[in-house]
Amino acid sequence: MGAKVRPVRSFREFLKRTLPIPIVNWLRRWRGTMRYLRFLSYEVSRRQSRLETGSPLETLESRMAARRDGFYQQMVKEVVERTDLVLQQLDRKVEGQGARHAERLGDLEEEMSRLRMAIEELRAVLEAAPVSPAERQATHPARERAARRSAERRKLAASD
């Protein structure tokens, strides 16, 4: 034991003997806290300097965490990313439906133009063919059906 330590220890023993127990305990707690805080400060200081100098062992996350606004930025990034994911899923549904509907609409338009052409062709054939007066007077079944439906509709409208 060194010459410097001996008087400190003797003084400490003297205090333990003379002071009341609660005060001795308070002094012990106080010394423990001071020691703990001193070593913690060394730890924090070492970590901070390691983060700021950017040692090769550092990860991007720890550098972010060392910055004062790191957590805020990370949070914003994650919220924006999440919103993006939700929006993209929604947009995919809208776009997918849109594309399929446009395709069906296109097919229907094509079908309609084919039908129109077929009707035009039929009309041209009918107009070109000579029609006898007897044929002209005879009613077509489809025309008969249409007349019947129209009469029924008129009757329903009158009853309302």
Binding site: V76, V80, L87, D91, E95, A99, E103
Partner: protein, 412 residues
């Protein structure tokens, strides 16, 4: 007819530079064309196509021309096109419907015109737009919002006429501009011709030259690998095929811009041994690889309203293709290319198509013939040139009063 053609040119890294380089020699045969393009950098010059004169933007005189074509793309190489299109209205060719990436880059991300950006978003999208602009300045922003707020309406309102490559782009653009009365012409993205160095090379010869197995079923991905090209679905779909057809290979022709995510996904699916990556290649090597392929996969989500040049080349080369049923791809008939829905299980659908094509050579042959025919009739470069010339004539014949009333736009 005297035309001014605003476009980037090689070596500028824009697909539109290649597009113009291919089309301009055809224009030189039928019209008097000046290309307006700045120098790519202090030490480099833009490469002039044969028969074309290049003028710098600062020496542009609008009164010298019968029509002005502005080729607008959504990247920083088009900033000079954008600014001149606002100053001297002409015919805007929208290679992308979305202009937000270009505008945000020029005004906020690398520029100092925050107030102009805020005003622009406010005018185009009302209160939501203004709020979005303010949040962007506070760095609360994502890339996806740029697709939802396209910022192309003010250009349409100023334009004398508009050209797009697909009906889908036309509808999106008119919706963004508020359905105003502006003449819009749909001119498909032409299928570029292969360079003479690869003329007469067939599939077997291309594989021999590249050292690829003759009996392998080769699936190809053309162009840069980026996240919108759905690399996850591509790899997972290929893995589905690989389990059934172990001699299948995935040929990736283009640089990987996913930061290694593509390779990691391939490893996770256990197909990294079957993936052959060429990295960035020149046009000759591109065509050699394309000729070696059995199937081309071209998925894309989200879209900026663009049309794919590599897809057009693949069709012209007569390759069976699988695309998303989405955007401009949705307009390609189903007997020309197989489709994958964007809102379904893309990987599973892609895998099923690939397996079907690997099993059924007759289906492949039919698709190849249909693709060739579609490219020959619809994507013919001469047809596209004639459509451009005819539209310029139409706009020239239009009374000037029709367009002047739209030009008092506060966004400019």
């Amino acid at each position: 007819m005297r035309l001014a053609w605003f476009t980037p040119l090689p070596p500028m890294l824009s697909g539109i530079a290649d597009y113009s380089s291919e089309l301009l020699p055809l224009f030189a045969e039928a019209a008097d064309v000046d290309v307006i393009c700045p120098r790519p950098s202090l030490l480099r010059r833009a490469k002039a196509p044969p028969g074309i004169v290049i003028r710098p933007p600062e020496r542009f005189r609008p009164d010298r021309y019968d029509a002005i074509y502005y080729h607008l793309g959504n990247n920083p190489w088009h900033e000079f096109v954008y600014e001149t299109a606002l100053r001297h209205p002409g015919i805007c060719v929208f290679h992308d419907v979305v202009m937000h990436h270009l505008i945000a880059h020029a005004m906020v991300e690398s520029g100092d015109q925050v107030a102009r950006y805020e005003r622009l978003l406010g005018v185009e999208h009302g209160d939501s737009g203004s709020r979005l602009a303010r949040l962007k300045v506070l760095a609360v922003a994502s890339d996806f919002e740029k697709f939802l707020f396209p910022l192309s309406g003010h250009l349409v309102r100023r334009a004398e006429g508009v050209v797009v490559h697909s009906l889908d782009s036309r509808d999106r653009l008119l919706a963004a501009a508020g359905n105003i009365d502006v003449p819009v012409e749909v001119i498909p993205h032409h299928a570029g011709a292969p360079p003479p160095q690869v003329a007469g090379i067939d599939r077997a010869e291309a594989r021999r030259r590249l050292g690829l197995p003759q009996d392998a079923f080769l699936v190809g991905h053309l162009g840069f690998v980026t996240l919108p090209k759905q690399p996850g679905a591509l790899v997972a779909g290929f893995a589905h095929l690989y389990r059934e057809t172990p001699h299948a290979k995935l040929l990736v022709v283009g640089a990987d811009n996913t930061g290694g995510a593509f390779e990691r996904t391939a490893r996770r699916h256990g197909v990294h041994g079957a993936v052959v990556s060429t990295g960035y290649v020149d046009l000759v090597a591109f065509y050699l690889n394309l000729k070696a392929l059995d199937v081309v996969v071209n998925l894309r989500y989200p879209t900026a309203g663009e049309s794919s040049g590599t897809f057009a080349r693949a069709l012209a080369e007569g390759r069976a293709a699988i695309v998303n049923n989405y955007g401009s791809f949705a307009e390609v008939p189903r007997d020309v290319a197989l489709k994958v829905e964007v809102d379904g299980d893309q990987a599973a659908e892609l895998g099923e198509h690939l397996v079907q094509l690997a099993r059924d050579p007759a289906l492949r042959t039919t698709l190849e013939a249909n693709a060739r025919e579609y490219a020959r009739t619809v994507l013919n470069p001469l047809r596209c040139r004639d459509l451009y010339l005819a539209f310029a004539q139409t706009i020239r014949a239009r009374p000037a009063a029709v367009t002047t009333e739209r030009r008092s736009d506060p966004t400019t």
